[in-house]
């Protein structure tokens, strides 16, 4: 009967291996799935109405509001720039959408860009200290006290949304707001969807500052929210969706 026992043990071992393999595969498959709207809880997201934003091409209200409340320094040289929200020409923000038959004006139309608060953020994946992480409500956050300044997240972000403090930012802040932290040199920073305002029941500063109501912010998990209404009824695009990052800033074009 010892042979039978060996066969049994062998079969048991193989089954255990197969089971472990299946669990690992399931895990991988789950990682590749995207959390979709419709699940309970809050998932913050934004829709940018590019046509409304274009009504006044010189307007920088949202940028000014954001950079003022967040103590974002103003460095004159491009190399050391810090920016949380800014304008890029259309063909830079959406390189795959531009065509040679578009007018120059269309190709160069300024488009607002900011952190996309991706559902599958590569910056979070690469950070060696969890100084950047994704919250349950979808906001990709930064801990400026834990960041070691390796800039791996800057290399990983496919949208150029992250800024590094190459120099001491404090002398470059026009007026320091005491209710928001300033950063030290040597750390990375970016848009946080104004989580400090959301926790007080306020809208993000850029959304509030926009006179044209071109920025619509809300809970993507709430089917009745205006963001969901826009995404349901209008044609929207996202930046580089082919990379699988699942950006949650959507653009009406």
């Amino acid at each position: 009967m010892s042979c039978t026992r060996r066969v049994f043990l062998g079969a048991a071992g193989l089954s255990a291996l197969a089971l472990a393999g299946k669990t690992a595969l399931n895990g991988l498959a789950r990682a590749a799935e995207t959390p979709r709207p419709g699940t309970p809880g809050v998932r913050w997201g934004m829709v940018i109405d590019t046509a409304a934003c274009l009504k006044d091409q010189g307007c920088t209200d949202c940028i000014a509001a954001c950079h003022a409340v967040h103590n974002v320094p103003a460095f004159p040289d491009r190399a050391h720039e810090i920016k949380w929200i800014w304008k890029e020409p259309f063909d830079r923000a959406f390189p795959e959408q531009a065509s040679p038959y578009m007018t120059r004006g269309m190709v160069e139309r300024p488009v607002l860009v900011l952190c996309n608060h991706c559902d599958n953020p590569p910056c979070v994946r690469v950070c060696p200290t969890q100084a950047t992480w994704k919250r349950a409500d979808g906001i990709v956050m930064m801990d400026w006290h834990r960041c070691i300044g390796c800039r791996y997240c800057v290399a990983a972000c496919p949208y150029g949304s992250r800024s590094f403090n190459w120099l001491d930012p404090r002398p470059r802040i026009a007026q320091i707001r005491p209710d928001f932290p300033t950063r030290s040199r040597g750390v990375v920073e970016k848009c946080t969807f104004c989580e400090e305002r959301l926790s007080q029941g306020l809208l993000p500063a850029c959304v509030e500052a926009c006179r044209e109501k071109a920025l619509v912010f809300g809970n993507l998990n709430d089917p009745a929210a205006p963001v969901r209404e826009l995404l349901r009824t209008r044609y929207t695009i996202r930046r580089k969706p082919e990379l699988g990052t699942h950006p949650e800033v959507h653009y009406l074009v």
Binding site: E88, A93, P95, P128, T129, R146, C147, G160, R185, T245
Partner: protein
């Protein structure tokens, strides 16, 4: 303590060399203090090109460190006796290179005093965490191996049996350090230049060409300066390893070029165009990259025919070419190419600044100092041993 008494006796020339290295290290250290004070803004790095000379040197030197396996494997696994004298030199080179890697990572950090956060908050999904683990482990393995084998040699006894599994473990570990270093780059969705599975094999092939080439150059220098003879068979075998590895490396690069340029994917072509012909009127690295190509081609002309390779002088010339070609490829082009154009299509110039170059040279001087002291110890022990025999 680790036979350091051997390192504090030496000729006048030895001390002048150490003093010169010390001076370069001092300039580097002072420049680093300035960088610490002002921030990484003293470098030529920018919003678009966020990694540069430091990280490129790190990548290049991980290869030098990993290449020790090219002497360790034949000697310990295949009992290839001709590598008896140089194996310890390969291991000491690996130790020096790993320490240089760690220094380059350290000087690249915006908040270096927080470096231990990587261990305080271990993050298995970050390749940087694994790089720290694999480099630290490789340093520990090689430190243990050199200490134990050299002590045994000094006492004229065989090394203890327990060190053999440690040595065997160091072989796959060497492969792992350069594989994980490639994974740092080739898992990023927004960096098409690095997004290629050939990156790790390419890293290993170029490492196994340039590490042994450096070892040949170091032994040639020691033959002249310290009357040291590693043995012609050992040098010739190293030359053969350099030849094969360089050929494989060139082959891998050609595979990459075919995929990129036959597919015509714009995002994959752009960095190569920037490096080799220039993009949007910016062509800062074009002369460097073509120099790398020409040096690689010339080195192969000298390496492939046995007649040339077996000529000691031509072999040295070929090794200088291999080293320079691969340093340009990995120590300049590989990192900068990944950042140009930026994800938003910007073509940004990057040129290292004087402080940045001084810090880089300072770390290279630290490496040369370590190699000098370690090799002095190894040669003294081997010399005593031969004299006693």
């Amino acid at each position: 303590m680790f036979m350091f008494e051997k390192a504090v006796v030496g000729s006048r020339r030895y001390w002048i060399w150490l003093a010169a290295l010390g001076a370069v290290i001092l300039v580097g250290a002072l420049s680093y203090l300035r960088q610490l004070e002002v921030g990484l803004g003293v470098t030529g790095l920018s919003r678009d090109v966020t990694w540069g000379l430091y990280i490129a040197q790190f990548t290049f030197l991980v290869g030098v460190a990993a290449s020790a396996v090219m002497v360790v494997l034949p000697y310990y696994l295949h009992d290839y006796k001709a590598f008896g004298k140089i194996t310890i030199l390969g291991e000491f080179l690996a130790i020096s290179a790993v320490i240089m890697c760690m220094l380059f990572i350290f000087v690249d950090m915006g908040q270096p005093m927080r470096v231990l956060n990587v261990l305080l908050y271990p993050t298995p999904n970050s390749m940087m965490f694994w790089d720290m683990v694999s480099l630290g482990g490789y340093l520990a393995l090689n430190a243990a191996i050199t200490l134990v084998t050299l002590s045994a040699e000094r006492q004229g006894v065989a090394p203890p049996a327990w060190i053999r599994p440690v040595i065997l473990l160091s072989i796959p570990w060497a492969i792992s350090i350069h594989t994980v270093t490639a994974f740092l780059y080739n898992g990023l969705p927004g960096r098409p230049f690095w997004l290629t599975a050939i990156l790790a094999p390419r890293f290993l092939a170029s490492a196994f060409a340039c590490g042994p080439a450096l070892l040949i150059l170091l032994t040639a220098a020691m033959r002249r300066l310290a009357d040291y003879d590693p043995g012609t068979a050992a040098v010739q075998k190293l030359g053969l390893i350099v030849t094969y590895a360089m050929l494989v490396n060139v082959f891998f690069i050609l595979l990459e070029l075919f995929t990129v340029f036959y597919s015509q994917l714009p995002e994959h072509m752009a960095p190569f165009l920037f490096l080799f012909v220039g993009l949007d009127g910016h062509a800062p690295l074009v002369p460097w990259m073509w120099a790398s190509v020409l040096l690689a081609a010339a080195s192969l002309i000298l390496l492939i025919p046995p007649r040339f390779r077996q000529d000691g002088r031509l072999l040295i010339v070929a090794c200088v070419m291999v080293f320079l070609s691969l340093w340009i490829d990995k120590g300049l082009g590989l990192i900068v190419g990944g950042f140009v154009p930026s994800p938003l299509g910007a073509v940004t110039r990057y040129a290292p600044t004087l402080p940045e170059m001084a810090i880089t040279l300072g770390i290279w001087a630290v490496g040369l100092l370590m190699v000098t002291v370690f090799y002095k110890i190894a040669l003294s022990v081997q010399g005593d041993h031969e004299a006693a025999a």
